[in-house]
Each structure stands twice: as structure tokens, then as C-alpha cells.
């Protein structure tokens, strides 16, 4: 009981620190830094949702960029005003029924998640029956199909011109608020017996079936929940950057998320958060390799896409040398700081805002 109270206090304290930081940051950090801090939360949400699919339930999915795209477009189309829409669609006029569709941001966020879930469900039903490695290929293809549809369905999506002037609804409160909800969801889910069941399906499908678990339905469910996270993450990102176009949702986007999950540790909630911090900052920092540099008399022209090359190499290195990532499947616990906790009182509380 004592450790429980202790952990409760520590959780509240770290939540307090987080809230203070979110309140302090906007007035004291420049826009670029704020954007990165926002992106950390969004990538953590996306990483957690991919981790649920891949790390916890063992389904190798390469479709997250596609689900993000669905979320980003659904949200943007729902919050752009009719005037904005009329002026933006230059090539083809916008579909009339879409013109006057308008919802508040939060509603658009939920609908973005639902739309991604629904399409995730449509693809999961046939593909998850096949099982195993087909999912990776199918979801990869699916994400590409989504992208191509967005390019070509001009009356709905404005094609390759993308959507501009999306209201910047994603501020620190919004992104970290969403992250907190997702974290609480994941912690409760994975600590419940259903969390055990997800891991069971991942570890040994035959044994799981023998234990009376409908492994197919369980997989579909985990996949659909993960897609919801993908859609919400995409919507948040669109409302942060305020401009979306199909190029944002290429396979490289999925790779970065895969990196978040693998660096942090497949199956670890804490890991995805740490992974997001590392990968997001590293991705920004690596931008310098794409800029032209002059060292002495040497002039090296910027190579676009170079950071993704470095990134892919890093991913391979991690998979070879430290497959379990930083956390493995472990989770953060306050007990780390209290080496001799009361015996018999195994604390399982996880920190929030870490």
C-alpha cells in the first residue's frame, strides 16, 4: 500500500512538472523547438499505436503512413471552411457534398481515428486470415494505394497540391493531452488480462487457440485499435504543420515510426515514448546532412533523402546488435529509484509524462 501511495504522489508530481513545462514552453521557446516538442508527442502516439500492432500483438504492419494519411485528410476536410475549400481546389472543383461539411476539431479527430480504423478493418479481414508475413506486404501496398488515391481523387483531396491553411489546432496542450490519454489507455490495456492475451497471441498462436482465444478476432481488434491511433496521429500532425500533401505519407514516414518502436523496444510502452524522443530529435538534427556544407575549400552539395539513408542504416545496425531496443519489453517503474522496496509489494504503477 505504501508503495502505491508513493507512486501515486510521484505520478502526480511528474504530471505537475509536465503541466508546468507545457505552460512555460510557449513563451520561452522558439517556434522551431515547439514544433519538435509537439512532434515528439505525436510520434509517441503513432509509435504506441504501431507498437500495439507490431510489438504487443506481433503483426508486422507497414501501413501506418497510410492510416496517418487517412486521418490527416479526414480531419483537414472536416475543419476547413467552405471558403477555404473553394479557393484551394484549382484543378477540379471540390465535390459539392464535401464543401459544406464542417465539424469542430475534436470531432474531426475522433472521425479521423474512426475512418482509419474502418479502412484498417477492411484490410485486416482478408489479410489477417492469411496470417504471418503477408500482412507486411499487404499493408505496404495498402498505404501506397491510399497515397495514389489521394493524388488522383482530386475532387475530394485536391490531388498532389495538397491542403493548405489548416487551422493550427495542435498546440502543446492538445498533443500532450492526447498522448496522456493514449498512454493511460495503453497502460490499462496491457496491464489487464487482455494485455496478456495479446502477448499470448504474439508468442504462440497454437497455444493461444488451445486456451480458447479466438486469435483471429483478437488480432483484428488490436489492429483496428492501432489504426485508430494512426489516424489520430496523422490528424494531429496535419493540424500542427497546417499543410498536408500526399508526399508526407510515403513509406519513409512508416520507417521513422518503425524506428521509434524498434529503438524503444518492441512491446514496451515506455520504450515507444523514449524512442519518439530520440528519433524525433535525431531526425531534425540529421537535417544538416541534407543541406549543402562547405568545409574549407570543399563544397558538398546537399543530398535530399540522405537522412533517411542514415536512418535506415541505423535501423539495420540496431536490428543486428540490439534487437530488443532500449527497453526490451520492460516498462518504467518508480521502483528503479528505490532499490529496496517493501518486500512482497510489487509495484506495477508506471510513470506518466515520462
Amino acid at each position: 500500500m505504501k508503495t502505491k501511495i508513493r507512486n501515486g504522489i510521484l505520478n502526480l508530481l511528474s504530471l505537475g512538472v509536465l503541466v508546468y513545462f507545457l505552460w512555460w514552453a510557449p513563451g520561452n521557446l522558439d517556434g522551431y523547438k515547439l514544433r519538435i516538442i509537439n512532434l515528439i508527442a505525436i510520434n509517441a502516439i503513432l509509435g504506441l499505436s504501431l507498437n500495439l500492432i507490431y510489438g504487443m500483438t506481433g503483426m508486422f504492419s507497414l501501413g501506418h503512413a497510410g492510416f496517418m494519411a487517412i486521418g490527416a485528410y479526414v480531419s483537414a476536410l472536416l475543419i476547413l471552411t467552405p471558403e477555404q475549400k473553394v479557393t484551394m481546389w484549382i484543378l477540379d472543383p471540390i465535390a459539392p457534398w464535401l464543401l459544406n461539411f464542417h465539424t469542430p476539431f475534436i470531432v474531426s479527430l475522433v472521425l479521423a481515428g474512426l475512418a482509419a480504423s474502418f479502412l484498417g478493418w477492411l484490410i485486416a479481414l482478408p489479410v489477417l486470415r492469411l496470417g504471418g508475413d503477408y500482412l507486411g506486404i499487404a499493408t505496404l501496398g495498402f498505404a501506397e494505394i491510399i497515397r495514389i488515391l489521394i493524388v488522383n481523387l482530386t475532387p475530394l483531396t485536391n490531388g498532389s497540391l495538397g491542403l493548405k491553411g489548416i487551422p493550427a489546432h495542435t498546440d502543446l496542450w492538445m498533443s500532450y493531452g492526447c498522448l496522456l490519454v493514449v498512454l493511460l489507455f495503453m497502460i490499462r490495456l496491457m496491464k489487464s488480462n487482455f494485455g496478456n492475451v495479446l502477448r499470448a497471441v504474439r508468442d504462440d498462436e497454437i497455444a493461444a487457440k488451445t486456451m480458447g482465444i479466438d486469435t483471429f478476432q483478437t488480432r483484428v481488434l488490436a489492429f483496428v485499435i492501432g489504426c485508430f491511433g494512426g489516424g489520430v496521429g496523422g490528424a494531429l500532425m496535419g493540424n500542427l504543420i497546417t499543410t498536408i500533401d500526399p508526399k508526407m505519407f510515403m513509406i519513409t514516414q512508416t520507417y521513422s515510426l518503425l524506428m521509434v518502436v524498434v529503438v524503444g523496444g518492441l512491446g514496451s510502452i515506455t520504450g515507444s515514448v523514449i524512442g519518439s524522443i530520440l528519433v524525433t530529435t535525431l531526425l531534425e538534427w540529421l537535417r544538416f546532412v541534407e543541406n549543402p556544407v562547405t568545409i574549407g575549400s570543399f563544397h558538398i552539395p546537399g543530398i535530399p533523402g540522405m537522412r533517411m539513408v542514415i536512418f535506415s542504416v541505423l535501423l539495420i545496425v540496431i536490428i543486428i546488435f540490439r534487437r530488443e531496443g532500449i527497453m526490451g519489453t520492460r516498462e518504467f517503474s518508480w521502483d528503479w529509484f528505490f532499490p529496496t522496496g517493501a518486500p512482497g509489494e510489487k509495484s506495477e504503477t508506471k510513470g506518466v509524462g515520462q
Binding site: 489507455f185 487482455f194 496478456n196 492475451v197 502477448r199 497454437i206 488451445t210 486456451m211 480458447g212
Partner: protein, 280 residues
Amino acid sequence: MKNPEGKAAQNIVLKIKDVTLRFGGLVAVGDLSMNVPEGSITGLIGPNGAGKTTVFNVITGFYKPTKGSVDFMGKPLTGLPPHKVCEAGLSRTFQNIRLFHNETVLENVMIGSYVRQKGRWWQNLLPFVFPAALREEREIRAGSLELLAHLGLAEQADAVSSSLPYGAQRRLEIARALATRPKFLLLDEPAAGMNPQESVELLNFIRKLRDDFDLTILLIEHDMKVVMGVCEYIWVLDRGLLIAEGSPETIRTNPQVIEAYLGKDAPVGDGPVGASPPVQ
């Protein structure tokens, strides 16, 4: 249909009727009929590759028989997927232990309890709205610990299951099967890898489990001597065919059984490699 001797009055709980299963040209099980009486401990024996595990896989829904039917408590099992078979009240262990090796001993048993859990997954996300679901989770944890204590594994509850010694892993697999609250337990070579004395101890323990949990138990055993002490009735398979059945005494002296066991001079390997790996 023959009834096990002296058990004529007992209910038949599992009825296997003319089951044939072919893998391509190979008849893994041919025209097998078995009637398992309620509350009994019975054995399915036979040399390597006789088709014993395949019979289990047919009963538990992993393989669909080419021909024939399996009934459990008067309801057909044939065609049900494995998880429905478990729901119906049959649970099993595997010849090559299949624990959830990344999970703890306690979690393994809790996973077994899931099939009887009434609370839905999303109810546990909102413990204040659905206190009953939270209570049920606690009960499952407590019940699982109790079950572990029953099988002498309470001490290791928080250990990762793959870290257990071999014998304890076998017991954990039984505990996990019991967590699904079965009426019928199928044990595939529970004593494999144990010396004769350990085997006898284990089988006596299995008898106790039958009484404590009101079970019917069908077990596969390789070693004929071990099975004699515990089983009330035995079926003998050889190359997919039933060559004898009866009480241990009649089996022991059956010339065909002796020949099946002694006749094969070279030990048979794992058999031909099929398109899909056999579930063992």
C-alpha cells in the same frame, strides 16, 4: 460399440466414431473409434509415429478428419475451431511444451482463465465505471495463484515461464490447461523426459487432479509400463490403426501389442516432413 470393461453403466463423455485422417497418401489415423467414459483416466499408447498426437489434434480441432466424427457430451466437435473446442470444455497439453515463454508463470495461468472471463476488454480501461470487471480481474489473479499453489508452483508465480526447470514447465502447462476450467483433459506425453520414478509420481499426481477437479483424462504415453499403473482403459495405435483396446492387464498380454512394440527394431524418426509442420 464396445464399452470399457466394468464401466458399462458410466456415461460416455467423448465419442470418436470412424475417424480417418489422411495426409496426402499417408493414413495417419484410420477408422478409429473410441468411447471415453466420464470421470475415467484412459490412455492412448503406441510406438513412434503411430498417430497418437494426430488423434489429439483431431479432437481439439487443429485437424479436420477426412472422415468420421467426434462428439463431446452429446454435441459434435467435428469442424469446430480449436478455441471453440476449449470453450466446450476440453483442454490439452503439448508433447513439446508450448508455454507463453515471455510471460510469467502467473500470466500463463491467467491467459488460460481468459476464456471464462465475462468482463470485456474495454471495461478494464474504465475501472471506476465498471467496478465488476476490475473485481473479476482481481479474482482471476487470486484464482490463478490458488491454482499454482495446487500444482506446487506458487513460489515461482512471478518467474518468467521459460526459466522454470523442465518438470515445472510440464506442471505449469497442466495448470494453464486447468485454468480454462475443462471437463476433459488431454495430456500428450506428460511424463516425457522423466525417469520412471518421476513418471509414476506424476501420474499419481494426475490421478489426484482428476479427483480434485472432476475431470476425465485421456493421456498419451510412449512407455507402456508407465501407463499401466494409472490408466483404467487403454487404446493401442500402430501406424494409424487401432490394434487393441482394453484394461491394462489384457493390453499387457496382447500378442499384437507386444509385436508392435518389439517388432520395430529401428526407432522411427519424426516421420516424413509434411507441407505444414505437425502440431505436437
